[in-house]
C-alpha cells in the first residue's frame, strides 16, 4: 500500500515495488488509505507524512490500533529530513524512514532491513 498525495511519488514507488514483484495498491490521503487497509490489510505500507485529510501520523496511530495493523511494516517516506521529526515518526510506530528524494536502491535496502526483500 502506497499512501502519498503526490501522484508522481505514488507512480515512482509503485514502479519500484512492482519491479520487485510486489502487487501495489495506492491512496492519495491517510483516510482513504486507512479504509483500504481495514478492508484488506497489506504486507507493507509506504507512507507520506504530510498529507491532506489525514496525515501520516494520524494514519499510523489508527493503523496500529486496527485489528491486524499492529505489526504491518510501515516505511515513512517524506521530504522532512529533520532528525527530531524522523525520530518522532519512528517513536510513533514507523519501522523505517526514507528521506525524499530517494532511489530504488535506497527503497530496496529499507525493505531488506525489514526482511521483506532480499
Amino acid at each position: 500500500m502506497v499512501i502519498d498525495d503526490s501522484r508522481v511519488i505514488r507512480m515512482v514507488v509503485r514502479r519500484i515495488l512492482e519491479a520487485m514483484g510486489l502487487a501495489v495498491v495506492d491512496a492519495a490521503d491517510g483516510y482513504t488509505g486507512l479504509i483500504a487497509c481495514r478492508e484488506a490489510m497489506p504486507d507493507l505500507v509506504v507512507l507520506d507524512w504530510n498529507m491532506p485529510v489525514m496525515d501520516g501520523g494520524g494514519f499510523l496511530a489508527e493503523l496500529r490500533a486496527s485489528p491486524g495493523g499492529e505489526g504491518v511494516p510501515v516505511i515513512v517516506c517524506s521530504s522532512d529530513n529533520d532528525p527530531a521529526r524522523i525520530a518522532a515518526a519512528l517513536e510513533a510506530g514507523a519501522n523505517e524512514y526514507v528521506m525524499k528524494p530517494f532511489d530504488a536502491d535506497i527503497l530496496h535496502g529499507k525493505l531488506a532491513q525489514l526482511g521483506i526483500f532480499r
Partner: protein, 280 residues
C-alpha cells in the same frame, strides 16, 4: 593516453596493489586518476607516465592507489555478515575473551568508511556487554584522500540512506544541511590509518575479526591468495574473517562458515592462526 603510458601504469598498479587491469581499461583508469592529476597539477596521463618512470612522489602514488581501489559502498552492506557478527561472532568472542576483556577488529580496505562506522554502531548496540572492555576498531585503506573522507565521516543525502537504518542514522549522525556527519563519539571509536594490503600486516597486531569486503575481487588469484595468507597471520585462532559475498579465502588456511557467504574461520588443524594466548 599513449599505449606505453597505459602499460607502464598497469605494471606499476600490479606491482603496488596486485591489481590486474587487462588491456582494455584505459577509460576506467583515466576517469579515476584524472581528479588526482588535477589536484597535483599534473597536465596529462602521459606526463604522469613520465613521472612514473622517474619515481612518483609518495602522496601522489597513494592517491592514485586510493582512486583505483575505491568501491561503491553502503552501510551494513549485504546485512548478513553484520547479523552474523552481532549474533554469532561477538557473543562467542565475548565469552572467549572474558579474561582479557580486550577486542580488536580490523576493517581492511575501509573505503568511504561505511563499513567501519557500521561495525562501530554494532559495538555501540552491544555497549552494555562491553562495559569495561578495551575495544579497538582499526580501519585502513591505501589512499590519503579516501582516508581523509572516511575519517571525516560526511555523507550525502543518498549515501547516508544506503543500508543505514533510520534509527541509527538519527542516533549517530548529525545533519548539516543536506549532508550528514558521523558524531564525534562514533568517529572517536575508530582508528583510521594508511595500509597497503600487499604489505605485512603483523605490525598492526592480532585481531579477533577482520572485515575485508570486496577488496579481493579486483585482484588476480595470486594476489588474493597472498593477502589471505597475510590475514591468516594476524587473525586470532578463534577469530572471524568477513569477505564480500562470492569472495573466497585461501582454502588451505580458511574454512567457510556453513550457511553463510564470504564468512570464514581458520581451517581446522592447519597451522597459521595465532592462538588468543599469544596476543600482545
Amino acid at each position: 593516453m599513449k599505449p606505453a603510458t597505459y602499460t607502464a601504469l598497469s605494471d606499476w598498479l600490479y606491482a603496488r596493489l596486485g591489481l590486474s587491469l587487462g588491456h582494455d581499461k584505459a577509460y576506467l583508469v583515466e576517469s579515476r586518476v584524472a581528479p588526482v592529476l588535477r589536484r597535483h597539477g599534473i597536465a596529462s596521463m602521459d606526463v604522469l607516465g613520465a613521472q612514473l618512470r622517474r619515481g612518483l612522489p609518495e602522496d601522489v602514488a597513494r592517491e592514485i592507489c586510493g582512486a583505483m581501489t575505491a568501491n561503491e559502498s553502503a552501510f551494513f552492506r549485504d546485512i548478513r555478515p553484520y547479523a552474523h557478527f552481532a549474533r554469532v561472532a561477538l557473543p562467542a568472542l565475548l565469552r572467549a575473551r572474558a579474561g582479557t576483556r580486550r577486542l580488536r577488529i580490523w576493517n581492511a580496505a575501509a573505503g568511504g568508511g561505511q563499513e567501519a562506522y557500521s561495525i562501530a554502531m554494532l559495538l555501540h548496540e552491544a555497549r552494555a556487554a562491553l562495559e569495561g572492555w578495551a575495544v579497538e576498531i582499526v580501519a585502513t585503506d591505501i589512499g590519503d584522500e579516501v582516508l581523509r573522507r572516511a575519517r571525516e565521516g560526511v555523507y550525502t543525502h543518498f549515501e547516508i540512506q544506503r543500508g543505514l537504518p533510520a534509527r541509527l542514522m538519527v542516533r549517530h549522525f548529525i545533519r548539516q544541511e543536506d549532508r550528514w556527519q558521523a558524531s564525534p563519539e562514533l568517529r572517536a571509536a575508530i582508528r583510521f590509518g594508511a595500509f597497503n594490503l600487499m604489505h605485512d600486516p603483523r605490525p598492526l597486531g592480532v585481531f579477533d575479526a577482520v572485515f575485508c569486503r570486496y577488496a579481493l575481487v579486483q585482484l588476480e588469484v595470486a594476489s588474493r591468495e597472498a593477502i589471505s595468507g597475510r590475514i591468516a597471520q594476524i587473525l586470532a585462532g578463534d577469530g572471524f574473517l568477513y569477505l564480500g559475498e562470492g569472495e573466497v579465502a585461501r582454502p588451505a588456511l580458511f574454512a567457510p562458515v556453513p550457511g553463510e557467504k564470504g564468512i570464514f574461520t581458520h581451517a581446522p588443524r592447519v597451522p597459521g592462526g595465532v592462538a588468543p594466548s599469544l596476543r600482545p
